[in-house]
Symmetry: C2
Subunit: 369 residues, 2 copies
Amino acid sequence: MEDANEKSITRIDSKIGSVESAAGGSNALLDIRKMRILEAIIDDYILTASPVGSRTISKRSDMGLSPATIRNEMSDLTELGFLEQPHTSAGRVPSEKAYRLYVNRLMDSAQLTDDEMEYIRRHLDNRVSEVNAVFRETAKVLSEVTNYTSVVLVPQLSSMRIRRISLIPVSEGTALAVVVTNTGVAKNSTISIPDSIRPEDLDKISRMMTEKLEGHRLSDAVCTVLPMLRSEIGEQADAVADMLTKIEKSMSEQDVEVVGATNILDYPEYSDVSKARSFLAQVEDGEYLREVMSDASDVEMSVRIGTENSNPDMQDCSVVTVTYKAGGKNIGSLGVIGPTRMDYGKVMAVLKYMSKSLSDILSKMLGDK
Amino acid sequence: MEDANEKSITRIDSKIGSVESAAGGSNALLDIRKMRILEAIIDDYILTASPVGSRTISKRSDMGLSPATIRNEMSDLTELGFLEQPHTSAGRVPSEKAYRLYVNRLMDSAQLTDDEMEYIRRHLDNRVSEVNAVFRETAKVLSEVTNYTSVVLVPQLSSMRIRRISLIPVSEGTALAVVVTNTGVAKNSTISIPDSIRPEDLDKISRMMTEKLEGHRLSDAVCTVLPMLRSEIGEQADAVADMLTKIEKSMSEQDVEVVGATNILDYPEYSDVSKARSFLAQVEDGEYLREVMSDASDVEMSVRIGTENSNPDMQDCSVVTVTYKAGGKNIGSLGVIGPTRMDYGKVMAVLKYMSKSLSDILSKMLGDK
DNA sequence: TGTTAGCACTCATCCTCATCGAGTGCTAAC
DNA sequence: GTTAGCACTCGATGAGGATGAGTGCTAACA
């Protein structure tokens, strides 16, 4: 637990399969039999949530070994830090290190059943009408299929290229700013407008902003593009800069959609209300999730197991995330949160598949890339 | 429980104080002493959540009566249906009928402390910049002050008068529709546009829609105003009607902001995980809350106690709601959900105050009414 | 040398049973 | 009408014992 792998979160880079192993060199110590036994234990524990005994493994698995032999191996595995004992006469429970190993091995082999793929496809194709509905629907399907809590980080605008900016007067002194990007994602927010701007001017200003800033990133627009254009804009340059800054600020907030938070209550590890409470409070707050999801938005898949989470309230659950694309570029991420004893195989497979589906849908919806 | 008052929810009309009593004539049977004892029991039970005994009341209250006397009165109150006994040798627990009576008496007298008012004022004035942020902030403050779950029904657009409609092309075949109303509330949604409309036309169509429909309700626009204008609009009338229908449909969805759902876990009646689960699932789903909040949007204050809720999963909690105004008209409602044993006095006072604060802020933000 | 059977031992879980005490209802006295 | 007294009820608490799953160790076996 306090060894070097504590903070090394699994990350696969673009080519799936090249795993930056996190369990150090220690898994070299595991021969095939130990590995199979460990896997059998993990599988069983994921299913039952109660400590696994030697007899169970001996009967269940097809290795044809007696409980005594399994016991010897389990004893070794415990010594190596892959198993833990709640108390002397209980079975063994996989440690985080074990999950780590398990996950790394699983990384490239996880597979979905046809039924599950069918289910996902049907439920996602259902309502492709509204862009933001897609993200909500994705989160919903994700939590339904896995029965864990799902999170979707909706695209961050400030790093995409602007296609259009519109300002619509809402009331005295406020306007609704709508930004459409090259990936077709639109976002809007209400901003206050400087006194010097008359509502009637907003239309002209919108057109001007669109004309000057099209193709630039919103983040660049404020700090580099706008200063260069100052002379061209004329007297209202300050006001325009002010508004653009406000727009950039409000747009750079990252939204997360969370669905199925209460699913966690189905798992015995959260039958303790105070534990459930702190989990749910974290999820409701959203701060940590936003952090994790943003962090994860540049690696194809990442898994945080237990104490690999920096947030103390999240240290007995795991977070698995993948990224999704639009126009060939990572624009957001989606993830699943569940107990450390989660069904990593299934979760990873579902996420991989949904990332692909979502990317496809987005590409289709947005037409051009 | 199965008597006439089952579905009669407290409703006060515009003049606060005129209570349409719901407890039938039966409270006439309660003399002052019984009333005081009942109140003492309710107060104690709200505080402790455990059955109240005669000794407690005898000691606590300033009536100077012995436990035996209290017992006699409690026996009467039980017979009248205001108290219940979990089992023979436990104390008494207030029935829903008792809460009903209690709430009706409280209706016009609930009062906040200065500290609480100060707290609310400070936290609401904080960020008045963004319209929708106000609702979110309101929900947050509401749940913080009461320590229950809070709900805010954000204004419904279709019943307000249109000030402006804008259509902004987002991608091939889709556009963002923004509707601004006379109360200054803006809402937007992505809609698909008919093939016959070119993106370049959207600007013209926006202007046309605004011109023709300004001052009308969105709901009227589709069914009465538009048909009358058909001839004026010309060839694209069908396409415009189609789009307007879509806008009306997407705008009439009522949004609810829910904050503090997990607060319910602080109360012992929800220490049972399965109970907590069904409550939280209801809240997450939002369907019932939307229903209650919409229902409540025409009476100044309404209280639903326990089984007065039509949703079975909500029948051991209470929902208190008030409406808020903008431009002199009710435009939405806010509410608090907690265990039936909630602190009605405080909740009602807080809600009344926050309704007023929110209405003031909205009026101020929107400038003109 | 690896595998297995046997056995003593540990310890959480479950059940039972007795005790405790808060609270009631009733009766009789004030 | 109010109160003191008392028997009674019944959930909560906790101790003690049985149960059984599971371990670790040792010795025998292939």
